[in-house]
């Protein structure tokens, strides 16, 4: 069995793990909104401390944090450089047509902190919430849209089935690649184009099998009384717990501290 980590969930039992995914999503949205209206450097410091504290509380190691930042490093660097060189103000240093201003440094630092906080906070959500819980939470939060005829349940179902079939299809791809390799196919060498071409004989059987699986699954769902759009009930109760209340309180205290810093 190919064990593929879907998403980046890290198992754990910290307060962050125990908090309801819906609460985490809402708090993350508020956090992001707050992050983009603050001006005072002190607020940025509070954000940095709060985010670091959360990361440590969630038992998330430095490595996992760096892993989530790494893919976005160019965006962070690009934003910092743009702000550094192209902000108008009193030049501190200048050569040729480029000038570094005090305002530029200020903005570059702030933007970097903003992006870092945002990336780390959102990865905290995905690092401490299993993908299926996340889809359920999204379904629950979007459920008011069902009144506007948005097929929220069906979308959530599609998402969770997709998550379930990723390892199955990955295993299948692995098997096909091995079977083709055994018959002399070469996947590892050549330029990009020849490597991409060599994947065609993998993709075709994979697609055919995926369609077959989809048909089987549809029949199996039919056999168990699934009707798209029909009202369904749920096994799991979606009740908020004291851990969620605590998370709310912590966030309110944090927001109050930020507000105080802004008013200083």
């Amino acid at each position: 069995m190919v064990d593929i980590l879907i998403g980046q969930y890290l198992t754990g039992s910290s307060a962050l793990h125990r908090t309801d995914a819906r609460v985490k999503i809402i708090l993350l949205i508020l956090y992001a909104a707050l992050l983009f209206i603050i001006k005072n450097p002190l607020s940025y410091a509070i954000f940095l401390i709060f985010t670091t504290a959360l990361t440590m509380m969630g038992g998330i190691g430095f490595k996992a944090v760096m892993k989530s930042i790494k893919p976005l490093r160019w965006i962070i660097i690009f934003t910092a450089v743009i702000n550094l060189f192209f902000t108008k103000g009193e030049p501190l240093l200048s050569f040729w047509k480029i000038a570094i201003t005090a305002e530029g440094i200020d903005l570059a630092v702030k933007m970097t902190v903003r992006l870092l906080c945002l990336i780390v906070a959102s990865s905290l959500l995905t690092l401490t919430t299993p993908p299926l819980t996340l889809t359920n939470a999204i379904e629950s939060l979007l459920s008011p849209l069902a009144k506007l005829k948005v097929p929220v349940r069906e979308l959530a179902m599609m998402m969770s089935i997709t998550l379930r079939f990723i390892p199955v299809l990955a295993e299948e791809a692995d098997r096909i690649i091995k079977a083709q390799t055994a018959r002399g196919a070469d996947f590892g060498s050549g330029g990009i184009i020849s490597r991409a071409k060599s994947l065609v004989p993998v993709m075709m059987p994979l697609f055919i099998s995926a369609f077959k699986r989809a048909e089987d699954l549809a029949t199996a769902m039919d056999a168990r009384c699934f009707i798209s759009g029909a009202p369904r009930t749920k096994l799991h109760e979606e009740k908020l717990t004291p851990a969620d209340a605590r998370a709310g309180v912590v966030f309110v205290v944090f927001a109050a501290a930020v507000a105080a810093a802004e008013l200083l």
Partner: protein, 273 residues
């Protein structure tokens, strides 16, 4: 009491080829029936008529007296006749065993307490209660299929149809699944219809129906059906090993391994022991 009634059913996927030809069949409540036939004989197509996944082109199928063409009573029909399919990976919706079992009950719109009760009972019935919170991805084939059986049981069906559910399992997984469904048949009085091409499984049923070319060619007790070794062979099917050996030795009335041992022993005048 009859749970299933198939009357003059014919079916075809396309104009050219008829898959089922005028099938007549009744299944008694609480019975254990095996339907055997080689590939393309129409046995799976017939099975899919039992819970309204396919509707007959002519004739009619009645589940508990309800015509399967009655769309308004689809839930009743499908809950009465639960189905387990061949590929364990392709029939699972959820990533956690108990969510998988709950799926059907959730679809029926039951109360949360009732769903919980059915999930627990179904898992217990297949002996998988310890695995309720585990991911089927990490289970063996036999365990996955037992979860699939539990998922069907959550509808509290009177009849369980296993459409080649043992075909992709290893011998141990097959034995596990057979034991589970035999127990369900005996203890929970669930009617079992087992579609298979393993003869040693068919032997364990009360009744064996042989399908060939979309028609029922033989129908009777395993003993009666496998007595006619030449006929079974002519249909491209295997004969259970014990019966085959006995046939080669010119013995009759042998079906199980134990019977075969006794018969051979008798043939050797007790010298074999």
């Amino acid at each position: 009491m009859k749970i299933l009634n198939v009357e003059n059913v014919s079916f075809s996927y396309s104009e050219k080829e008829t898959v089922l030809k005028d099938i007549n069949l009744t299944i008694e409540k609480g019975s254990f029936t095996a339907i055997i036939g080689c590939n393309g004989s129409g046995k799976s197509t017939l099975a899919k008529h039992f819970n309204a996944i396919l509707l007959p082109k002519s004739g009619a199928v009645y589940v508990k007296g309800i015509d399967t063409r009655d769309e308004k009573r689809l839930f009743e029909i499908r809950s009465a006749a639960g189905m387990v399919f061949q590929n364990p990976d392709n029939q699972m919706v959820a990533a956690i065993a108990e969510d998988e079992v709950a799926f059907a009950a959730e679809n029926l719109g039951l109360e949360r307490n009732e769903i919980r009760r059915r999930v627990d009972e179904s898992l217990r019935a297949v002996g998988m209660e310890e695995y309720a919170l585990e991911s089927p991805a990490h289970m063996s084939g036999g365990q996955k299929q037992r979860i699939a059986v539990a998922a069907a049981l959550a509808m509290e069906p009177e009849c369980l149809i296993l459409d080649e559910s043992t075909a992709m399992l290893d011998p141990q997984g097959r034995a596990e699944l057979m034991q589970t469904i035999k127990k369900l048949n005996r203890e929970n009085n669930i009617t079992v219809i087992l579609i298979t091409h393993y003869m040693d499984e068919a032997v364990q049923a009360d009744r064996v129906i042989v399908i060939d070319g979309g028609e029922i060619v033989t129908d009777g007790t395993p003993r009666a059906v496998f007595e006619d070794v030449e006929k079974i062979r002519s249909l491209g099917l295997d004969v259970p090993q014990a019966a085959e050996l006995a046939h080669e030795l010119g013995l009759t009335g042998v079906l199980t391994a134990d019977e075969c041992v006794n018969a051979v022993d008798k043939l050797l005048g007790g010298a074999g022991r």
